[in-house]
């Protein structure tokens, strides 16, 4: 239709002269063809695989060259391909440097510059491609993007081109115009642009090579024609021949036309159908989009429904969890309360038990004091009468009587010692000991101790050594300090058969007095060390026969040491001797009073 209109227009415009010229051309051309079997037709070629391109060995290849290659020998044309970019080709066409240009979409603007064949050769769609990772789904996603396009291409500048399209959608994007579709894909691939526009056919061939991906933006169905220079005498002839051949090719389904379509586009083209194929595709596409939209909408609705359900379930679940948590918290609080109450009850019990124990302790002390009194009364008679008889106040005593009375006396005194120790301990433990604090010289105490044992020491043949700092003055209970030392020295002498008993005193840190009582006696076994200060634990039971003691000595001594704010420790090498270390403050401090 367009072709006919155009022809009429041309005729009207150019008038009879043109018509005459046309007829003349035909005649000349016919003569030329008749005269020379081959005429050279210069054909523009640019790179737009698979439609038209230069193959590896430099030959024109693709859909258009296939058609041209079929027509040319039939018409006796020698085809000279002039290579160039799309723009160059169009320029050459305009300036009549080439006779024919394939693959040109018809536009009003172009129709003023070139002549077009009448038969549609191929319908091209354009498509926006992008690369993986760039999120372009629809036309709206092009907002703010950079897009590479083929300079001067119908899909760029045409009435349905990308520029018009984005303007219609009020989208702002930038365009980078390049010379070939290959360059478009290179820029997309390299990331210099976000997207690129090529023909769908070019994309079909090359998308994998450049690793670009299709978008859903498909537009500009462009019927493609052969174009011819307006000012060329060859043009009418060429238009006529091309139209004639194309008609024939399109009518024959086995022709090179259909073979080439199948070969290069992988699909059967149907330009001849009443409803153009692109329209069917467009309708199908629209239908598919509607279906997709409808389906999508339904899907979305059902997703929303199911998500809402999920959310409701989730809320219910969360509420249950919170209630559960609240229950647990409540239980925990109850538990803590119960435990706290238990603990308080236990504490009260312990306090009660403690008071009870203190009372028991007091009663024990009272009991021991009473016992002491009751034991002392008969003991007074025993010791008194024995003493009286041994003094001879009741008359002469013979040797055997003397011996036996001495045994009674000795045992009575042992019993008295025991009672005294028990009384002392009970006094200390009852907290009823009052210290008699005063300043006294350590030397005086030591002299008393030495004197008390001098007889026994010399009797056993022991050496008694003392080391005492001069002018050592203590503020404490002299009687108790002496008692401690006497107990320690008494033990040392008792358990030493030969060698030395030594008492060495020294001042530590200007605050403490340390008195070491060491001996070269029998010593104490390692396993007995822990029992040393326990009551009634004279370590070697066999020794009791030889060394009489109350079994309370060290226990009481430690109690006394503690009473004075000090302590006693012991070291021993079994068989080689023992060392008892008594430490006490030089000046008694009241806060440590027991």
């Amino acid at each position: 239709m367009r072709g006919i209109e155009k022809a009429v227009e041309q005729i009207l415009c150019r008038g009879l002269v043109s018509l005459c010229l046309l007829l003349l051309y035909v005649a000349i051309c016919g003569a030329a063809v008749a005269a020379d079997d081959s005429m050279t037709v210069r054909v523009g070629i640019y790179e737009n695989q698979p439609k038209i391109f230069t193959d590896d060995i430099g030959n024109a290849s693709g859909f258009w060259p296939d058609i041209i290659g079929y027509i040319a020998p039939k018409e006796g044309w020698e085809i000279e391909y002039i290579h160039g970019t799309w723009d160059q080709c169009l320029e050459r066409l305009e300036s009549n440097e080439i006779d024919m240009m394939p693959d040109v979409a018809y536009t009003e603007e172009r129709s003023r510059l070139y002549d077009f064949s009448h038969e549609v050769v191929y319908t091209s769609w354009s498509m926006v491609y992008t690369r993986k990772g760039v999120d372009i789904q629809s036309i709206l996603d092009l907002e703010g993007k950079s897009i590479a396009v083929l300079k001067g291409s119908i899909n760029v500048e045409g009435p349905d081109g990308i520029k018009k399209l984005v303007t219609a959608f009020n989208i702002n994007c930038t365009f980078t115009e390049v010379d070939s579709y290959t360059r478009v894909f290179e820029l997309v691939k390299s990331g210099e642009v976000d997207a690129g526009v090529t023909s769908k056919d070019f994309g079909y061939q090359h998308e994998t090579d450049f690793n670009v991906v299709k978008t859903a933006i498909i537009f500009q169905p462009s019927p493609l024609y052969f174009a011819f220079p307006k000012n060329s005498s060859l043009t009418p002839y060429l238009v006529e021949r091309i139209d004639h051949r194309m008609k024939g090719l399109k009518q024959d389904y086995g022709s090179i036309y259909y073979q080439s379509l199948a070969k290069w586009f992988g699909e059967k083209h149907a330009e001849e159908s009443v409803i153009p194929m692109w329209l069917i595709w467009a309708l199908a596409g629209t239908g598919a989009i509607i279906l997709l939209l409808g389906g999508g909408s339904w899907l979305l609705r059902s997703q929303v429904r199911s998500r809402t359900k999920e959310l409701i379930a989730e809320i219910a679940e969360r509420k249950r969890a919170e209630e559960k948590l609240a229950r647990y918290r409540h239980q925990l609080e109850k538990l803590v309360e119960a435990r706290t109450a238990e603990l308080a009850a236990k504490t009260a019990e312990v306090e009660k038990a403690n008071i009870h124990l203190q009372e028991m302790d007091r009663l024990k002390s009272v009991f021991l004091a009473s016992m002491s009194h009751e034991l002392r009364t008969p003991l007074n008679s025993i010791i008194g009468f024995t003493g009286v008889m041994l003094q001879g106040m009741t008359g002469e005593v013979n040797d055997e009587q003397q011996k036996q009375l001495t045994i009674v006396k000795s045992n009575a005194h042992h019993l008295l010692d025991l009672i005294n120790d028990v009384l002392d301990i009970s006094k200390i433990e009852a907290g009823r000991v009052e210290l008699s604090l005063e300043e006294f010289k350590l030397n005086d105490v030591m002299q008393d101790v030495v004197q008390a044992f001098s007889h026994m020491v010399s009797e056993k043949g022991l050496r008694f050594a003392t080391e005492v700092p001069e002018n050592g003055v203590l503020f404490s209970d002299e009687r108790r300090v002496k008692q401690v030392l006497i107990n320690l020295v008494s033990n040392a002498v008792k358990f030493t058969d030969m060698g030395t008993v030594k008492v060495a005193a020294r001042v530590l840190d200007g605050e403490k007095l340390e008195i070491c009582v060491s001996d070269t006696g029998i010593g104490i076994k390692e396993e007995d060390m822990s029992k040393l200060f326990e009551p009634f634990q004279q370590v070697d039971m066999s020794l009791r026969k030889r060394h009489e003691g109350t079994g309370l000595g060290l226990y009481l001594t430690r109690k006394l040491a503690e009473l004075l704010g000090g302590d006693i420790s012991a070291k021993s090498q079994y068989g080689q001797g023992s060392e008892f270390i008594f430490t006490m403050p030089l000046r008694y401090k009241h806060q440590v009073e027991v």
């Binding site: 008969p378 010791i383 003493g387 009286v388």
Partner: protein, 119 residues
């Protein structure tokens, strides 16, 4: 001859003390209860009183107070002779009016020396 009043409820101990004192040349008067002891102390005017603390009627401390409250010579030495050996027993005895305090059991070897100090 000096006279010594012994106030003591325990027969054995009374016998012992009396024996030692008489052997050492003292005249002994004895009472087995506190009240009786106070009467004798006032009536007999001894040179020394040996006072047991635990007695069946009034205790020794009370007896000492009563003797001291009477019109007898305030210089009369009263020596407590007691089996009580707890802290404070000595002090309590002295506070009640005792001149001295001897712990039982007595030491037969030194007993007379101690007594002599108060006469």
């Amino acid at each position: 001859m000096k006279r010594i009043l012994i106030i003591e409820d325990n027969e054995s101990n009374l016998y012992l003390t009396r024996f030692i004192l008489e052997k050492n040349g003292y005249q002994v008067i004895a009472a087995r209860e506190g009240i009786r002891g106070v009467e004798l102390a006032v009536k007999e005017k001894p040179d020394l009183v040996l006072m047991d603390i635990q007695l069946p009627d009034i205790n020794g401390l009370e007896a000492v107070r009563r003797i001291r409250a009477s019109k007898i010579d305030h210089e009369l030495p009263i020596v407590a002779l007691s089996s009580y050996a707890m802290v404070g027993d000595r002090e309590r005895a002295l506070a009640a009016g005792c001149t001295g305090y001897i712990e039982k059991p007595i030491n037969p070897d030194t007993f007379m020396l101690e007594i002599a100090k108060f006469l």
